[in-house]
Subunit: 462 residues, 2 copies
Amino acid sequence: MGDPNPLPTTLAAALHDRFGARFSTNAQVLLQHGRTESHHAVRLPDGVVLAHTTEEVRAVVRLCAEHRVPIVPFGAGTSMEGHTVPVRGGISLDLSEMNRIVAVNADDFDCTVEAGVRRQQLNDHLRDQGLFFPIDPGADATLGGMASTRASGTNAVRYGTMKDAVLSLRVVTPDGRVIRTSRRARKSAAGYDLTRLYVGAEGTLGVITEVTLRLHPIPETVSAAVCGFASLHGAVSTVVQTLQYGVPIARIELLDDVQMMAVNRWSKLDYAEVTTLFFEFHGSERSVQEQVETVAAIAAENGGGEFRWASSQEERSRLWKARHQAYYAALALRPGAVGWPTDVCVPISRLAECIEATKADLARASIPAPIVGHVGDGNFHVVFILDPDRPDERAEAERLNAALVERALSLDGTCTGEHGIGLGKIDCLEHELDEGALDVMRTIKRALDPQGIMNPGKIVRL
Amino acid sequence: MGDPNPLPTTLAAALHDRFGARFSTNAQVLLQHGRTESHHAVRLPDGVVLAHTTEEVRAVVRLCAEHRVPIVPFGAGTSMEGHTVPVRGGISLDLSEMNRIVAVNADDFDCTVEAGVRRQQLNDHLRDQGLFFPIDPGADATLGGMASTRASGTNAVRYGTMKDAVLSLRVVTPDGRVIRTSRRARKSAAGYDLTRLYVGAEGTLGVITEVTLRLHPIPETVSAAVCGFASLHGAVSTVVQTLQYGVPIARIELLDDVQMMAVNRWSKLDYAEVTTLFFEFHGSERSVQEQVETVAAIAAENGGGEFRWASSQEERSRLWKARHQAYYAALALRPGAVGWPTDVCVPISRLAECIEATKADLARASIPAPIVGHVGDGNFHVVFILDPDRPDERAEAERLNAALVERALSLDGTCTGEHGIGLGKIDCLEHELDEGALDVMRTIKRALDPQGIMNPGKIVRL
C-alpha cells in the first residue's frame, strides 16, 4: 500500500490553518483517495484537501509548489488507468465539492461548470431547457475528470469526445496562476490550442477548475434497439456499412457473447448470448424512422436477428443501464475478483480482425475476459477478471494486455481510445509513439511543470 | 519591402549543393514568397527552397538550425494574416510541390496527404470513391497550410474545423527530427494531444509535412438556396433557431447588403441587395426535404423572402463560387484597392448585436467594408477595401479593426475565428488572453523552438 510520508510540518500547518477539517490525514479519507475501481495498487496520499473554489485550488498549488510536494487532482475517482493514485505521495486535491453549475447559455448551446460537477447532475439540470450534454463514458464521472482524461464513451460516434465538447477551461498552473484557455466562441484560431493541451493531460500540467462545454438540443425522437448477430464479422460489417451510408447514428455498441452472459445475469435480462449490437437513433421522427430502416436492412444482410426495440424513456434507460453496468456485470462473473479494464482503438476497417484475434487469444486464457466496444469509433475494451490473490493471473492479464496493445499498434491503432495513459499504459505509449514525439511530450511537461509536482509519474517518464 | 540579407555563405552553398535550382534567390521567386493576398507589407525572404520530401524538409531545417536562420513554411500563400511573410528574413520553405496523395483508406473514412496537396485536388481525387473532405475556407489552400492556421470555412457548422478534421500529422521539429503526432485511429487518449498542438501553430513549432484527415461520405442529396431578409436581426434569428431545432445544416452563410452588391457585380447575378443567407443541406432525400421545410418555415417567420433554389450540381457550383469569390468581388468595388480582411467569432446569441454595432461603425467610415460570415458558428468577416497609397485609410481600417476586436472580446468572443494570429493580430491576442495563458504559449514556443527559428514573429512576442 506504500507508506504515507508525513508532509512537511509547515505545509501541514498552513493547510490546516486555511482549510480546517477540509484538510485531512484521516486513514479512511486517505484510502478513499489512494485506491481506484480497477486493478492498480493502492498508494495513499499524505493528505487530502477538499477545495471549494478556484482560489482555494490556487492556494493549495502555491503551498505545494513552495514545498515541492506533489498534487494529484481527484474528482469522482472513476478513472481506469490509475490516474488518481498518488504514486509519489503528496496531496490528493479533491474537487468533488466544486459542483456548481456556473452558467447555462441556452441560446449559445454551452454551459460553464465547476470541475466537480458530475455528468448526470449536469443533464438533470439541463433537461428543462431542452438541452443535453452527450459525452457519456458510463461512469457518473466529474466533468473536470472527463476533460482531464479526454473521456468519450457511447455517444462519441455522433457527438465526438471531450476534445470536441470542451470550449474553454479554467486551469491553475503549477506555479499557481489562474488562466482561462480561450473564449466562449464556438471556434477560434487565436494562438496555440491551450484547451486541447489540457484536455487529456491527466492533471500533469495543471488543475482544471472550470469547464465550458458545448451542449446539444435534446432530439425530438430517440429510439434504441438491440440486435444479436450470427458472427462478430457480421456485427462489425453492420457498423462499417452504417457509417458508409452516412447514417447519423448516435450510439452503436458491441457486446460479445461473454459480456452478454454477464449482462443477462447482472441486469436480469434474457438477451441471446451472442455478439450483440446496441443502437440508439436521434433525430426528428422522420429521420429516426429512416435511420432505423436503413440500419435494420444493413443488419439483416449481415446475419443480424430481430431488432428488440426500446422506444420509451423507461425501456431505453433499462437498456443503457445494462450497457453502462457492463463492468460491474463482468466483475460479478467471479465474486471477489478485481477488474483490469483495458482499451484500444483501431481504424475501423481493422476492427473485426483485431477483435477476432483478441478473442482467439482470450479463448486460450484461464481468466474470464468479456469484450465491449464503442465500435463506431473502432474502440473496444477487454476486462480481465482477476483473483487479486493470484499473481499468475495478474501476469497472464499483463501478457494478454501487452499482446492486445501490440496488435492494435500493428494495425495503426492506439493503445488507448479513451481510458488514457495514467499509470497503466506508460510503456504502451513508448511503443506507440516515436522517440521524437515522446520527447516533445517530455519537453512540454518539463517546461510547464519544471518542479514536476503535478500528478507525477503519469503519461511520460522524465 | 525590407532588404533581403544575404544568407550565410556556407548555408547558401549547402542548399545549392542539395537542391540545385530548387534553391532560389531570384528576385521574382523571393517576391512570390514575400507578399500575400492581403494588406500586409511585403518582406522578402533571403532564399526559397522548394522541398519534395519530408527528408528534404528535415535537411533544410537542420541546415537552418545550424546557422540560426529563420524558416517560414509556405503552401499556397492564401493566408490572411501575413503568416507566410518572413519578417525576420531567412528561408521560405515552399511545400507546394509536396502534393502527393499518399493513401486513401475509404473504409476508414480517412486519407493521408502531403502538406502541399490542395483542397480541390483532394476532392477531385476522392469523388469516385464516394467520399469528400468538407473543410472549405474558400481559397484553394494546401492542406498543410489549412492545418497550420486551423482553417475552417463554410462547412464548419456541420463538419467542424481543421481541429476536428486532422487525425494525425507528420512534423519536422525545429531540431530536425521527424515525428508523427498520433496513430490513425478515430480517437485516442494516448498522452498530450500533439496533433492539436501543431494544428493552428502557424508553423511556429515545426513544419507539417503530411496530414492524415477524416473524410465523409458524399451525401445522397445536396441542395442549396439563397434567401434575402428584411433585417439583419431576422437573418441571425433564423440561424439561431435552425440550430435550436437541431437541423443538421451543412452551410449557413450570411452576406450583408454591401457584399451582395459586390457579388452581383462580380459574378453577374441579380440577387436582392439585402442581408442574405446562403444555405446548403446534406442528407438523404427525405432528410434534406425535412430540413428544407423546417428552415423555410423559420426563415418565413423571421422576415425572409422566397428561397431561390440551386439543386443541380451546376447551379450549386455557381452559387458557392459567388460566395467563395466574395473577397475578390469586394476588392473589385474599388479598382486598384487592397483588401484588409479581418474576422471575429462570438457566442451566437451575441452575433446580431455584434454585427449591428459593427455595421453602424462602418456606416460612418470612409472606406467600403462588406461583411460575410459563417454565422452558424458566430463567425464573420469584414473586409476593409483600401487605397494602398493612402495612409489615412490604413489608419482608419486599423481603428475600425481594433474596435471590432474589442467589441467581440467584450461579448466573450475571440479576435479570430479562423484567419489566425499571424502578424496581424498579435496585439489582439494580448487583449484576448490573460497574462498567464500568454505565458503558457510563450513557454511552449521557447521550449519547443529554443533557437526561435520557426516562423519567428508570429502569434506571440518573445
